[in-house]
């Protein structure tokens, strides 16, 4: 029952900080292993299209995921494998989407990181950066209109995504409506190849919070304990009706933009700097230090993650690909309104 151990449902409700830290680490590790497996499959030519990893961002992402709960809305971004798992997305959803299985939530129609299950509160991202924030706003408005007072909506963005008009319009909208939005910005120093200095000119992206009239926190994105504190307090504040919460984390993408990219533009200096630390290593040290884990236990955990991922991949590899002849080529729910011509 490896799978069960790792799934959200089976995890103990976070009664204490201690439990949560370990639980969060588990999701970080699982995400790292899952990401690595996807990268391996990519290198083996088993994946069509790109593979995008959250390597180096797991502490931040998992901390968000564990801070949310059922009934919340989550619109993860490219590097949120950890947050997705922590929020309850099954490993299978990831693998099935990457491999295009017809049994996955996107049934082969969309791929890689563009997966979600709206009915479970996971909104599937479109590629256009910044575009999901206002969608989360609308979902939160609907929940409020339905009398649900304590649901939170969270979504993630990069340093580059902060330059989009969509981000600006949506954060301002959330502030005007005083919605319980948690916007997590992973400043990983680069947007694809573009360094921060070509992306913005403010001292810190956190400086933007005030211009929207929203609360803001900075956090060291390589530090699990710091991330957990920041994200939990942000989610609590949003849930308590304190309006949108902006969290800006500093960290480094420890991989290419996608697996096709060797990221040779990332300077050695920045790799060696504080943001370049691997959050998994940092978290392991924290767990050992605080006697929350032993080395053998950590090794066991990793083995457990590997087994879970391997099992999921083995399962999906036996699943059918979509059949174009069985496919419903239908972009509207109302079949009688489909526009048909002779050719089709």
């Amino acid at each position: 029952m490896v799978q069960a151990t790792l799934s959200r449902e089976a995890a103990p409700s976070p009664a204490s900080n201690v439990d949560t830290t370990v639980e969060t680490f588990r999701f970080m590790l699982l995400a790292r292993v899952l990401d690595e497996k996807m990268a391996n499959l990519y290198r083996a030519g088993k994946i069509h299209g790109g593979v995008f990893l959250g390597r180096g961002q797991e502490a931040l992402s998992a901390s968000l995921g564990v801070s949310l709960r059922k009934g919340d809305v989550f619109a993860p971004l490219v590097r949120d494998t950890a947050g997705r798992l922590a929020f309850g997305e099954p490993i299978l959803d990831c693998v099935r989407t990457y491999l295009g299985s017809v049994l996955g939530p996107m049934r082969g129609r969309d791929g890689n990181v563009h997966r979600g299950r709206p009915s479970a509160g996971i909104l599937p991202m479109i590629s256009h950066l910044g575009a999901m924030i206002s969608v989360v706003n609308g979902a939160l408005f609907a929940k409020r209109a339905a009398g649900v007072q304590d649901a939170v909506g969270a979504t993630c963005l990069g340093d580059g995504g902060m330059s989009t008009g969509a981000f600006h319009e949506a954060l301002n909208q959330a502030a005007v409506e005083r919605l319980p939005l948690v916007l997590v910005v992973a400043n990983n120093q680069y947007a694809y190849s573009t360094p921060n200095r070509h992306q913005f000119a403010c001292t810190s992206l956190l400086d933007r919070a005030r211009g929207y009239g929203v609360a803001g926190q900075a956090v060291d994105g390589t530090d699990l304990t710091a991330c957990l504190n920041a994200l939990r307090s942000a989610v609590v504040a949003a849930r308590a009706g304190q309006g949108p919460q902006l969290v800006v984390a500093s960290l480094l993408r420890l991989c290419g933009h996608g697996e096709h990219d060797d990221a040779s533009y990332i300077t050695p200096e920045i790799k060696k700097s504080a943001v370049g630390r691997d959050c998994i290593a940092v978290a392991e040290a924290q767990l050992l230090q605080a006697d929350l884990a032993t080395r053998p236990a950590l090794a066991g955990l990793r083995a457990e993650c590997v087994a879970a991922v391997e099992q999921a991949v083995a399962t999906v590899q036996r699943e059918p690909a979509p059949d174009p002849f069985a496919e419903q080529w239908q972009a509207l729910s109302a079949a009688h309104l489909l526009d048909t011509t002779q050719e089709s």
Binding site: N172, A331, A334
Partner: protein
Amino acid sequence: MSITYLEAIREAQARALAEDPRVFIYGEDVGQFGGAFKATKNLAAEFPGRVKDAPISEDAIVGFAVGAAIEGMRPIVEMQFADFSTVAINQIVNQAGTLFWRTQTPCPIVVRMPCGGTSGSGPFHSQNMEAIYSHYPGLVVVTPATVEDAYSMLIEAVALNDPVIFCEHKLLYYHLKAEKLPTEALPIGKARIAREGRDMTIVTYSAMIHEALAAADELEPEGWRVEVVDLRSVKPLDTDTVMASVARTGRLLCVGESWPWGGVTAEVIARVTSEGFALLDAPPQRLNSKDTPVPYHPSLWAAHRPTGHSIAAAARRVLRQ
């Protein structure tokens, strides 16, 4: 009592709000002010909290509507002018238009777009964008030409589970009147014979229906009986009704108020010629606006778009062939 096209739009929204608690309206100045054209007049007072003023953020307005729709609501978005939907187009085509196909989650939003030229409005307050939205998959695009359709199609649009681009024509807002609101209506997806004839068919939609009818009037004393087909919705496009009309008349002119390249008129002609080539006794023709931005000055504006006279002239050319 008589009711205008604009009032019909207001009444349809009032009814939707009254009958379905999931409906709300969102857009710039739609609240207390009642909208730039007064299409939501008094609705904020009648339905507190359900007619919401938005910041000037069209992208976020549509994104918000999609999010609310995912959670089961039925938002009606008002663009202040259709022209401003260019800054919302990404959310419309890539978010709303793909949601059902990607996730099987329906996206019941209506985006109301005040369309079309009026004299003195110029390049950025006159556009017709139905062709843009029809080209993308996943959207229903309707273009009511009558008071009755403005009302019934808006009611139906709100009830549909798919995103609807509701192109309402500003030129019809105040002048077009009906005796009363309809109690029954053709469904979205069905075209209508606006005037029967036997000599040729003019296919058009929205405000151009009235120009086409004027052209038909103009041609009547010359002995021509012109049939006018009102498409009502341009996507889906009711090819059957168009084809049946062309089968009767053998001649086709398609008229649109938007630009000549592509668009509804090209689509109609492509369908009729590929699916009903043998029905035609003469080459099909089209008439659109000129291929420039919509001009400001009344004399230029009147020459930029098809009118009763220019349609009649084009029709004569079709009839003579």
